[in-house]
C-alpha cells in the first residue's frame, strides 16, 4: 500500500492525511466545488474534483470516488466517518475495483447497519439488548396489533428507524394514545432520511448513560477492545462532549462491558475499527444499543488515554498486519481525556447553524491540548455539510485537571466572523453537575429547557468596558490613520526605540506581528 484516497472532507480528512504522512504513504484528496481551498485539499499530495457542493452530487457519489482513486493510482480508500463510511455498497464497489477498503467488510457493514439484525447478533453473543421488537414492524400492522406489541415492551418507549442514526426517525411514546401517530411520523422521517421506512420499538430506559467500547479487529481473528468512552452529554441525540474513562464504570464493570463488546464483534467476524454502543442504567446494568462500523468522531479521547493511533492501526489492519497490542494495556487508561465539539452554531439562538466566512481563527495550544480542525481563517463554513469547526481535546493526569485544561483552552480559542458553540462549551464545563459527573443522555436537553434566555457567554461589566475602549480606539485609529503598522505600539516613537528597531533590522532580526517597541 503506497497511496490512499481519502473519501471525505474537513477535520477527519486532515486527520487521515496526517496518519498517511507519518507512515510514508501518499494522501490523495477529493473535493466538491465549495471545498477547493479547504485544508484537506492543500495538505494532500494530489486532489481531484468530484462535483457540485451538495453531498449527493459529490461526497456521496461512489462512482466518482472510485474513479478518482483509479485516476490517482491509489491502492486503498479511507472513508472517514459520515458520508459513505457505513455504506456497504460503497465498500463493495471499492473492493470490486481492486482497491483496499480501509474499514470492515461490506458484509459486516450491511449486517450491523440494520438495527434489528444487530440486536439479534448481540443476543447470539449473549449480550443483553434493550427490550424491544425482534423484527421491524410490519408496514400493514393494525393499530390494535401495534398497541399489543407495545404493551409487551412497556412505556415509555421509542420508535426507532431500522436503518437510522443521529436521532432521525426516532420518536418517544409516553402511552398507547400517542403510538400510531409516532410510528407514522418516524416512518416518514426514516423514509426521507435513510431511504428505508422500516421502524421498530424499544423501551426507553430512565436516565441512562451512553457508554461505548472502541475495538479493533484484524484479519487473523484477534479482537482488542479498549477502555470505554462516556458520551452522555448530548443535545437532541447528538454527542457534544466525550471523555474516557467514564466516572460511572468500575474496573469490574469495564471488564464485563469490554468482554461483551468483543463477543459481539467476534460473532460477526468484525475487522478494522468499530464501536459498540451501550446504555448503562443507574443500577450498573448495560444493554447493547448499536454498533458503528467505522472510525468515530470521538476516537481521539481513546487515543489520548491509550497512547495508540487508531487511524494508523486501521491502515495496518487493512494491509493484513496482526494486532499486537497488549490487551491489558488497552483497558488501562493513562490519565483522563475530554473532547468537545466546536460547531458553527449560535448557542444563543437555539443552536441555529451559523455558516459564513471565518475572519480570524486562533486555536489553543500548550500542555495536553489537541486541536483537530478542518478549517481556518479566511475560509467559509459551507452550508452543505456538518458545521463542525474543530474537536478540541484535553488530556491530563486526572479528570479535574482535564476539565481545567479544557476550560483554559476554550478561553484561548478565538473564532470571529461567525457564531460558534465556544461560549456554550465554556458554560457547560463550568457546571457543578458536569464536574461531579452527574449526567445522563437527556441531562443537557433538560437543563437547556429550564434555562432562561440569558446568553451563555454573558460579558461582565469590566469586559463590556474593555470592549467599548477597544472599539473606540480602533475607530479613532481608522480615522487618524498614520503610525499604526502591525507590531507597533501606538505612541510617538522616541529616538532610543527607533535606533533599537533599526539595529534589530540591520542584524537581520524580523519585525513581525506582536513586536513591542
Amino acid at each position: 500500500m503506497k497511496k490512499i484516497l481519502i473519501a471525505n472532507r474537513g477535520e477527519i480528512a486532515v486527520r487521515i492525511i496526517r496518519a498517511c504522512r507519518e507512515m510514508g504513504l501518499s494522501p490523495v484528496a477529493v473535493y466538491s466545488e465549495c471545498d477547493r481551498a479547504a485544508p484537506h485539499v492543500r495538505a494532500a499530495d494530489e486532489a481531484y474534483p468530484i462535483g457540485p457542493s451538495a453531498p449527493r452530487d459529490s461526497y456521496l457519489r461512489a462512482d466518482k470516488l472510485v474513479d478518482a482513486a483509479r485516476r490517482s493510482g491509489a491502492d486503498a480508500v479511507h472513508p472517514g466517518y459520515g458520508f459513505l463510511a457505513e455504506n456497504a455498497a460503497f465498500a463493495a464497489a471499492v473492493r470490486d475495483a481492486g482497491l483496499t477498503f480501509i474499514g470492515p467488510t461490506p458484509e459486516a457493514i450491511a449486517l450491523m447497519g440494520s438495527k434489528t439484525a444487530a440486536r439479534a447478533a448481540a443476543q447470539r453473543a449473549g449480550v443483553p439488548v434493550v427490550p424491544g421488537t425482534a423484527a421491524p414492524l410490519a408496514a400493514t400492522a393494525a393499530e390494535s396489533d401495534l398497541v399489543r406489541t407495545a404493551d409487551g415492551i412497556g412505556y415509555p418507549l421509542l420508535v426507532k428507524a431500522v436503518s437510522g442514526g443521529g436521532g432521525k426517525g426516532m420518536r418517544t411514546v409516553a402511552g398507547p394514545d400517542d403510538l400510531s401517530a409516532a410510528v407514522a411520523a418516524a416512518r416518514s422521517e426514516a423514509g426521507t432520511a435513510f431511504g428505508d421506512a422500516a421502524v421498530y420499538l424499544e423501551r426507553q430506559l430512565v436516565r441512562p448513560r451512553h457508554v461505548e467500547v472502541q475495538l479493533l479487529g484484524d484479519d487473523h481473528g484477534t479482537i482488542v477492545p479498549f477502555v470505554e468512552r462516556e458520551c452522555s452529554i448530548q443535545r437532541r441525540h447528538q454527542k457534544l462532549v466525550e471523555e474516557s474513562p467514564s466516572l460511572a464504570v468500575s474496573p469490574a464493570l469495564r471488564r464485563a462491558m469490554t468482554s461483551a463488546a468483543a463477543a459481539v464483534a467476534r460473532t460477526v467476524g468484525y475487522t478494522s475499527a468499530g464501536t459498540i454502543e451501550f446504555l448503562l442504567d443507574g443500577d450498573g446494568r448495560f444493554y447493547f444499543l448499536e454498533m458503528n462500523t467505522r472510525l468515530q468522531v470521538e476516537h481521539p479521547v481513546t487515543e489520548m488515554v491509550t497512547g495508540l493511533d487508531l487511524v494508523r492501526w486501521q491502515i495496518r489492519i487493512a494491509r493484513g498486519e496482526r494486532l499486537d497490542i497488549d490487551p491489558d494495556a488497552a483497558l488501562a487508561p493513562a490519565g483522563h481525556a475530554i473532547e468537545c465539539r466546536v460547531y458553527a452554531e449560535d448557542p444563543d439562538n437555539n443552536f441555529l447553524p451559523s455558516p459564513g466566512r471565518i475572519n480570524q481563527l486562533r486555536a489553543p495550544a500548550g500542555p495536553g491540548i489537541r486541536d483537530e480542525s478542518g478549517t481556518g481563517a479566511g475560509l467559509d463554513v459551507p452550508i452543505y455539510y456538518d458545521p463542525l469547526i474543530s474537536k478540541l481535546v484535553a488530556w491530563a493526569e486526572d479528570r479535574p485537571q482535564a476539565i481545567a485544561r479544557l476550560r483554559r483552552a476554550l478561553g484561548e480559542y478565538l473564532v470571529t466572523g461567525i457564531h460558534t458553540t465556544l461560549p456554550f462549551l465554556g458554560w457547560l464545563l463550568a457546571q457543578p453537575d458536569f464536574a461531579a459527573g452527574r449526567f445522563h443522555t437527556t441531562y443537557l436537553d433538560d437543563v437547556l429547557k429550564t434555562r432562561s434566555g440569558r446568553p451563555f457567554g454573558e460579558p461582565g461589566r469590566e469586559v463590556e468596558e474593555v470592549a467599548i475602549i477597544g472599539a473606540a480606539i480602533q475607530a479613532s485609529l481608522a480615522r487618524g490613520g498614520a503610525d499604526d503598522a502591525p507590531g507597533t505600539a501606538l505612541r510617538p516613537a522616541d529616538r532610543w526605540k527607533t535606533q533599537a528597531r533599526l539595529g534589530a533590522l540591520r542584524k537581520g532580526g524580523r519585525v513581525g506581528r506582536g513586536t513591542r517597541w
Binding site: 443521529g166 443552536f351 447553524p353 480570524q360 480559542y413 470571529t416 465556544l422 480606539i473 480602533q474 475607530a475
Partner: protein
C-alpha cells in the same frame, strides 16, 4: 474624538484622546490611560490602567495594569454593530456612526417590531415540518417551523406573542436564505 456607543441596550459616552503615553479614554466620565499595540488589522493589545483618578490631567496609577487583547469583527454590511472579542468573549458594540446610518434609513424602528413578526429562513434548507396553522395563537419562543440545513433540523421560533397571519411555505419545499416563511400579527 467623541463616540456614542451602545452595549447591551445601554448608551455610553466615550472620548478618545492621543497622549504622550498612548491614549486617554473617558467612558461615562471615568478616565483611563491605555497603552495600545497593534497586532493585526483587526486586533489590538491593550494595557489599561486600573485606577480611575477623579479630575486632573493625568490618570492616577495604582500600579495595576490589566492586559487585554481585543479582536474587532466587522459586519458584512457596513453600519451594523461590531462584535468585539475581549480575549475570546464576544461583546456586541454599536458605534454611533452605525446607529445614525440605520436611523437615517428608517430601519431602526422597523427592526424592533417588524423582525419579530416575520419568520425568515436564516440559511438555505428544506422545510421539514410546519408546526402551526394560520390563525393559531402563538407564544414567544414557540417553535413554528422546522428547516433542515447543514444536516440538522432547526426549529425556528416565534419572536413574540401573537397570531399566525400567513404561512408562505409548505412541508417539503426548499427555501433560500432570507425567504419569508411565516408572518405573525
Amino acid at each position: 474624538m467623541h463616540y456614542e456607543v451602545e452595549v447591551n441596550g445601554r448608551p455610553r459616552q466615550v472620548d478618545v484622546t492621543r497622549t504622550a503615553d498612548g491614549f486617554a479614554v473617558v467612558v461615562d466620565g471615568r478616565r483611563r490611560q491605555v497603552d495600545v499595540a497593534r497586532i493585526d488589522a483587526n486586533t489590538l493589545s491593550l494595557l489599561i490602567d486600573g485606577a480611575a483618578a477623579a479630575g486632573g490631567d493625568r490618570p492616577g496609577r495604582d500600579g495595576r495594569c490589566a492586559s487585554h487583547e481585543v479582536a474587532i469583527s466587522r459586519p458584512a454590511a457596513s453600519g451594523g454593530p461590531l462584535t468585539v472579542f475581549v480575549g475570546t468573549a464576544p461583546v456586541v458594540v454599536t458605534l454611533d456612526g452605525g446607529r445614525r446610518r440605520q436611523a437615517a434609513l428608517g430601519h431602526r424602528a422597523a427592526i424592533g417590531s417588524d423582525a419579530a413578526l416575520r419568520v425568515i429562513a436564516p440559511m438555505p434548507g428544506k422545510v421539514i415540518r410546519v408546526l402551526v396553522a394560520a390563525g393559531d395563537a402563538v407564544r414567544l419562543r414557540q417553535p413554528l417551523v422546522v428547516v433542515e440545513a447543514m444536516k440538522m433540523e432547526n426549529e425556528l421560533r416565534a419572536g413574540r406573542d401573537g397570531h399566525v397571519a400567513a404561512i408562505h411555505v409548505r412541508e417539503g419545499v426548499s427555501v433560500d436564505a432570507g425567504t419569508l416563511l411565516i408572518e405573525l400579527k
